[in-house]
């Protein structure tokens, strides 16, 4: 086993920022807006670094697909303890159209190239909420998947994953190599320590293009329109239960 873990880290608009829709409804405003690492990707990096600290794996490689600024996200991952980074450069219209299908093709190609034992991803990104990349990556590689992980344990050449599902918790055991996606309760990501931030400067980030991996970025999706959610309307106060029932009948809900 190579002992190598690939972790995908996505640069997204910071969770605390108020999102604004572009005046032409073609998308959301990203220029000059604060960006940071997707919170679920932070959890993924933390889990990988913890596995390395327990000496269960040998190397953590942080991967990000996007423009030049994605390198900042990779540096943050390096400061948290990843060993090296890979920046797959995607810019302009390609970047606007970049979605789970394209990213999972890139991750699959990298997994083969880097002989990865494990891929850990965030369960979803907070900008598109797709929750697809992990699943698609596993399918493209024909690898088992443990998604919505709240606990991950490496046991020899298998991984035990406790999954958060609607009914409660499900524990599965899958063979490696495998794809795991991190859910909220998997861990609490560390703050980068100052010495690690300094060390991160010396760690390598390799640059490549999707074409170098033989990946076709064509999207099967076209975004037609982006709208703000409708303004919340004022409600109506009623005096008695009879009034309430009458109003509900009026609205056709009962």
């Amino acid at each position: 086993m190579s002992g190598r873990v690939l972790v995908g880290v996505k640069r997204v608009i910071d969770y605390a920022v108020k999102i604004r829709v572009k005046p032409d409804n073609s998308g959301i405003v990203t220029d000059g807006v604060k960006h940071s690492m997707n919170p679920f990707c932070e959890i993924a990096i933390e889990e990988a670094v913890k596995l390395k600290e327990k000496k269960l794996i040998k190397e953590v490689v942080a991967v990000s697909c996007g423009p030049q600024q994605s390198q900042e996200t990779i540096r943050t991952a390096l400061a948290m303890g990843a060993d090296r980074g890979i920046h797959v450069e995607v810019t302009g219209k390609d970047y606007e159209a970049l979605g789970p299908l394209q990213v999972s093709k890139i991750m699959a190609a990298l997994a083969k190239k880097e002989d990865a034992q494990l891929i850990i991803l965030g369960k979803q990104a907070i900008d598109d909420d797709c929750n697809q990349t992990g699943q698609m990556t596993a399918a493209l590689l024909d690898w088992p998947q443990g998604t919505f992980a709240s606990e991950v344990a490496l046991e020899g050449d298998k991984v035990k994953v406790v999954r958060e599902i609607d009914g409660g918790l499900e524990t599965i055991k899958i063979n490696t190599p495998a794809v795991v996606t991190a859910d909220l309760r998997l861990n609490t990501p560390r703050y980068a320590t100052l010495p690690n931030i300094m060390k991160a400067k010396k760690k390598k980030i390799a640059n490549m293009k999707p074409a170098d991996l033989g990946v076709d970025l064509t999207s099967r999706l076209e975004v037609l329109r982006v709208d703000e959610p409708p303004q919340r309307q004022a409600g109506v106060k009623v005096e008695t239960v009879d009034d309430l029932v009458a109003k509900l009948r009026e609205a056709g809900t009962i």
Partner: protein, 405 residues
Amino acid sequence: MAGLMTARRALGLCLRGRRSLSQLAELPETHQILRQTCRDYADRELTPIAAKLDKEHCYPAKQIQELGAMGVMAMEVPEELGGAGMDYLAYSLAMEEISRGCASTGVVVSVNNSLYIGPVLKFGTDEQKQQWITPFTTGERVGCFALSEPGNGSDAGAASTTARQDGDEWVLNGTKAWITNSWDASATVVFATTDKKLKHKGISAFLIPMPHPGLSLGKKEDKLGIRASSTANIILEDCRVPLSNMLGPRGAGFKIAMQTLDSGRIGIASQALGIAQAALDCAADYAHKRTAFGAPIGKLQAIQFKLADMAVAVESARLLTWKSALLRDSKKPFTKEAAMAKLAASEAATFCSHQAIQVLGGMGYVSDMPAERHYRDARITEIYEGTSEIQRLVIAGQLLKEYQS
């Protein structure tokens, strides 16, 4: 020919200076990540509890330990001794972000870094560094700095605390006043006179563990602001320490104190910047949300002028602070610039917090909003680590020296 030589020299100066000048315009990537990390920590862990810490006068022990684990409690200390091995620009950035979240936590960090570890790092022997620095890098222990006395603050040369040699021990007697961290500290740097006749040249520096026989603490002062950090007298009554506890040469105490305060000023300037920025953030946010006369008050010129003045005050103080840090990091003289930074930043903090309350109106006067706490926290920055008046004396002294022909 002479003209060409002058031009070439000027170009050389420009190019050499470019690296540090551009750092004033845009921080290097590591410093940006560091700043963001500290800001995230402050936003998530300090801002939510700052009001409570202030109200309950509660020392933020857990947060200090977490900051220690990040390396923030010993930023300049080399890694071999347990520190983060970073430069003073990084320290200034960290201090500003932490103080923006909680000014009390900021002063605990600053005193430990600049006033306690600072002099030991600069003047201590290798054994002293191992004993007195390494345990104080993790956040589990903090130190303090005892220079002021009930009878003298600005007049530091008139120290009346005495130290006499008795065999293989120093015996200290006297009272130190206004000591930050005193109730939470595990060690202190104390300044006492070993030769009263030599006046300020007779003062020496000593390291005393806490608690220690002969060292007791006065009551915790009930302060206007920075209430989560403890401030009290340190009383020395026949307090005995080994001869090896003297820090630096005999009689060098005053010089050690002054040099330590030079660096400490950069830390406090950064704390003041954090408070000023927090006040500005509060006011600007309110200006967007509060409506009066049919529109957000941010549309009114009176409010806009205040916000603009606040922004200029903060940014100019910040550039002075960064410049003094960069000069110190390049091992150039920085006394004048550090004093300018501390003066500008502390006056920016009191100005911005005053105006922030004005922008918030009635809401600025109640504890529901943080503006009143910023106002109370800001006030001390013009007093400790050299009053604004002392800063002006330092600046004028350095300035006039430059003009001496």
